[in-house]
Each structure stands twice: as structure tokens, then as C-alpha cells.
């Protein structure tokens, strides 16, 4: 666990150091709806099904809380 956190810290610090700042007017491509760093609303059912059928879900969903998921 400590090694993983250390690795993450190194990656984050390395990333910060290597980046140039992108100005707002340069973010046309970054602001494309498909570049969002997350799921689209319609993906919620897919995520929900996976939470029910797989053991590696988080705190909310499936058999692990925030709903039954017992089927």
C-alpha cells in the first residue's frame, strides 16, 4: 500500500513538473464532450450492472451498500 501511494505521488509530481499550462483559448479539444474524465450519463446502467456482478465495486451499489444487489 505504501509503495503504491509512493508511486502515485511520484507520478503526480512528475506530471505536474512536465506540463506546460494550457490557456483557456487553447482548450477547444480538451473541452470536447468526449474528453470528459468520467462516465457519460447513459453509462450509469452499465456501471450499476458491473457493481452487482463483480466483487470489486466501491461503497455504493451492488452487494456492497446503497441498494440490495442481491439478485
Amino acid at each position: 500500500m505504501k509503495k503504491l501511494l509512493l508511486l502515485l505521488t511520484i507520478i503526480i509530481l512528475g506530471t505536474l513538473n512536465s506540463c506546460t499550462v494550457i490557456k483557456e483559448y487553447e482548450k477547444v479539444n480538451i473541452n470536447d464532450p468526449d474528453m470528459v474524465l468520467g462516465d457519460r450519463p447513459v453509462d450509469r446502467f452499465e456501471v450499476n450492472a458491473q457493481a452487482y456482478r463483480e466483487a470489486a465495486s466501491g461503497a455504493n451499489g451492488g452487494k456492497t451498500g446503497g441498494g440490495c444487489g442481491c439478485n
Partner: protein, 414 residues
């Protein structure tokens, strides 16, 4: 205990920040959300397999589920947004029907779903989320309350998050915390309910405490990525009361074609989970975007898992985008998992729930999106901004498979 106290402390902090982070400035600023938005989302899920946990690792896993949901985002002022998310899930399930396999006119059989009263159920849930953005839009705090209920389960949840953007909005860090307080109605397999040798469960509550940290960074004009760490502590009833177990060291007993339970699944009352994930999205050109995701998970029940997925949105016109996707998942088995009729009655913990077994799964998806940025098509006082349709097919190497059809319609206030 220390972990739970830390989460509660963080939760109280986030909630306090949300309540007190009100700005008094009256200078002009762009609204966080210009107008009310309504998402109507609906899905149809169909599953099949031959390893039902309700019948100790054998038997049909047939399940269908229809889930209509509304998500309404309301701008309260320039800075604050209230989001209400409410939905129901109407399902028919061989699993729940075989809690009592003897309540229909047909001979009971684990490979046939009983058509009795327990064959279907309704889940209903909703959550309220309130978010506040600072004047410079570099800080966002939110708080939420969630509730869900079905016949044998009730869940109440609280959560909060804090997000900070800096480096000219190139970098974002966030922290979120959630608490779920769940209560079971203990529903045992029908044949053990009046058995004197059966020892019932002494807990019916399940509490989940989670905290998560996020970090995202714009790496170039076309590339951005995110990292996340989630920690979850659970305690209470973590098993499902009506899932049967058949012991190898006890004689098998049948009624009709159905094997009677030797016991129910029994699992530890605590579980600690850790998940570390990352996303990397690359804007290839005006037609293609590359979306990738990876997650590593481990817990103290002995489960390790890897998830990797890729999606390549293809803009075929200015209004239509295609979404082919592939996802790979694998997990090791929980320490307490035993296939059908393998567990020993002398063990402390055991389950034959194949969702806790070792398996790999592949998922193939294909979606299509239609977007009209002018939302010309009117419905009452709302314009239709986008339509999403998606099909997913999921298959485990242990046999279970499902198909999922999802649709989403986004309306914006005019």
C-alpha cells in the same frame, strides 16, 4: 474504528464548507448552469447463467430489469445547482423467486425460476445533490443525501465533496466522502425458517464509509488524465441472508428436484477495500477520440482485480457520434468462496456466490449519440439537446452473460 472516525470527520468538514461557503459578491459572472436540464434515462437488462447463489452455486441466474430514471439539474442562482436523481428498478429474478421455490404449481427445480409471489420486486431510489461554486469557479463544494428501498432492504446515504482547480484550471484535486447506513429485512431460504438447528443472523445493519481522492491534469492541448484512490470500510451484515450453502460433509436432502439448504452464506462482518484508478483521454483529431481507463482493486477478503477499458468515440457528422468500446475485467476469488457442495460445515465463513469467485469477463459495447446544440425540437418548455442509445454484451468465462440496452434523452429549458 480510526478510519471511520476520520471519514466522519471529513464528512462533517465537507458539509460545513458547503453550508458556509456562500459568496456575497454581486459582480457579473457566468452561471454554472444556464438553465434547468432534465435527463431521462432508461435501461433494459437481461441476464442468464447457471451458478445461482440462492441455490448454492447451481441453478438459473435468469434476471430481467427495467429501470427508468429522471435526473433534474436546477440552477438555484449563478453559483448553486440542485440535482435531483430519482428512479425505479422493476425486476423479475430467478434468484429472488427461488428463496421459496415451492410456492408455484410446478415441481421446484434450481434450474427453473419459481413463478410464485417472490418472482419480482421493485427497487426505488433517489438522491439530492447540492453544489456550490466559488466566484472564480476554482472551488466546488457539494453535499448529497441518498435513499433507496426495496422489499428486504433500505439504505440511507450522506456524502460530500470538495474540488479545487488551480494552475489556470489545468490541474484539479478533489476529495469526497460518503456514508451509507443500510438495513436488511432478514429473509432466509424457506426451508430453514422453521428449523430448530438453524442459527439466524444476529445483525441486520450494514454501514459503509468511504473516502476518495482525485487528481486530474491537462497534459497538452489534446491530452488529459486523472488518477483516483478510493478507500472503503464496511461493517455489519455483509452476507446475503437467503443465499444457500450445501456442505460436502453432510448428506444431501431434496424436496422435489430442489436441494434443501444446509446453511446460508456466512461472511465476515468487516471488509476493507482499496481501489486505485486512472484515466487517459486523447483527442486524436476531429473524428476520433481515445478514452482509456484502468483500475486496480484489492480487499482483505482476498480479492484482487484488474479492470481495463477503451472507448473510441467517432464523430461521423457534426450531430452523430459512434461509441465502440471494450472492457476487460478479472478478479481472484474471495478466501471464503466454495463451488457447489464443496464447503465444509466446520468452516467459519463460506459462500457459493459466483460473484465472489475467480473469473474473467469481457464486455463489448456500441453506442450512438445524436446532439443538437440548438435543441430545436421542443417539448413543452424544454428543447431536446441529445439522444444516446447504447448496447452492451458482457460474458464471464464461468458462463454468466448479460445484455444491456440503455437510452438517454437530455432536455434543456428554453
Amino acid at each position: 474504528m480510526y478510519f471511520m472516525k476520520s471519514i466522519l470527520g471529513l464528512f462533517i468538514f465537507l458539509f460545513s464548507v458547503t453550508v458556509f461557503a456562500q459568496d456575497s459578491t454581486s459582480t457579473y459572472k457566468k452561471r454554472v448552469l444556464e438553465t434547468t436540464e432534465i435527463d431521462f434515462l432508461v435501461s433494459y437488462y437481461s441476464q442468464d447463467g447457471d451458478n445461482a447463489a440462492v441455490s448454492g452455486g447451481i441453478g438459473t441466474e435468469k434476471l430481467t430489469d427495467f429501470t427508468p430514471t429522471f435526473v433534474v439539474a436546477i440552477p438555484l442562482n449563478a453559483d448553486d445547482v440542485l440535482t435531483i436523481d430519482a428512479g425505479v428498478s422493476a425486476y423479475t429474478s430467478a434468484s429472488s423467486s427461488n428463496v421459496d421455490p415451492f410456492d408455484s404449481n410446478e415441481p421446484a427445480d434450481p434450474y427453473v425460476a419459481s413463478s410464485g409471489a417472490s418472482a419480482s420486486d421493485l427497487w426505488a431510489g433517489g438522491n439530492f445533490n447540492y453544489s456550490h461554486s466559488s466566484d472564480d469557479r476554482n472551488e466546488i463544494v457539494s453535499a448529497k443525501i441518498s435513499v433507496s428501498s426495496e422489499y428486504d432492504y433500505f439504505s440511507l446515504g450522506f456524502g460530500g465533496s470538495y474540488t479545487k482547480l488551480f494552475n489556470e484550471k489545468n490541474t484539479e484535486v478533489s476529495v469526497h466522502a460518503n456514508v451509507y447506513l443500510d438495513t436488511w429485512k432478514l429473509l432466509y431460504p424457506i426451508e430453514v425458517r422453521d428449523t430448530t438447528s438453524f442459527i439466524g443472523l444476529d445483525k441486520k445493519n450494514r454501514n459503509s464509509y468511504s473516502v476518495g481522492f482525485g487528481f486530474s491534469q491537462i497534459l497538452s492541448k489534446n491530452l488529459q488524465g486523472a488518477l483516483s484512490v478510493d478507500l472503503v470500510q464496511q461493517q455489519g451484515l455483509l452476507s446475503t441472508p437467503f443465499q444457500r450453502i450445501y456442505f460436502s460433509d453432510l448428506p444431501d436432502r431434496f424436496h422435489e428436484n430442489f436441494q434443501l439448504a444446509d446453511d446460508i452464506e456466512r461472511l465476515p462482518e468487516t471488509r476493507f477495500k482499496t481501489a486505485i484508478g486512472g484515466r487517459l483521454n486523447y483527442y486524436l483529431n476531429e473524428v476520433f477520440v481515445l478514452r482509456t481507463y484502468y483500475r486496480y482493486y484489492f480487499d482483505d477478503w482476498g480479492i484482487n482485480s484488474h479492470t481495463a477499458s477503451i472507448e473510441i468515440p467517432i464523430k461521423i457528422t457534426d450531430k452523430f457520434t459512434l461509441y465502440p468500446s471494450y472492457r476487460f475485467y478479472n478478479q481472484t476469488a474471495a478466501d471464503y468462496f466454495y463451488p457447489y457442495n464443496i464447503a465444509l460445515s466446520t468452516a467459519e465463513f463460506y459462500t457459493s456466490d459466483y460473484d465472489l469467485s475467480e473469473f474473467s469477463a469481457n464486455q463489448y459495447g456500441f453506442g450512438i449519440n445524436y446532439t443538437d446544440i440548438f435543441a430545436k425540437l421542443q417539448l413543452a418548455k424544454f428543447g431536446l439537446k441529445s439522444i444516446d442509445l447504447k448496447y452492451d454484451y458482457y460474458k464471464r468465462d464461468s458462463g454468466l452473460n448479460y445484455s444491456l440496452i440503455s437510452a438517454g434523452f437530455k432536455f434543456i429549458g428554453k
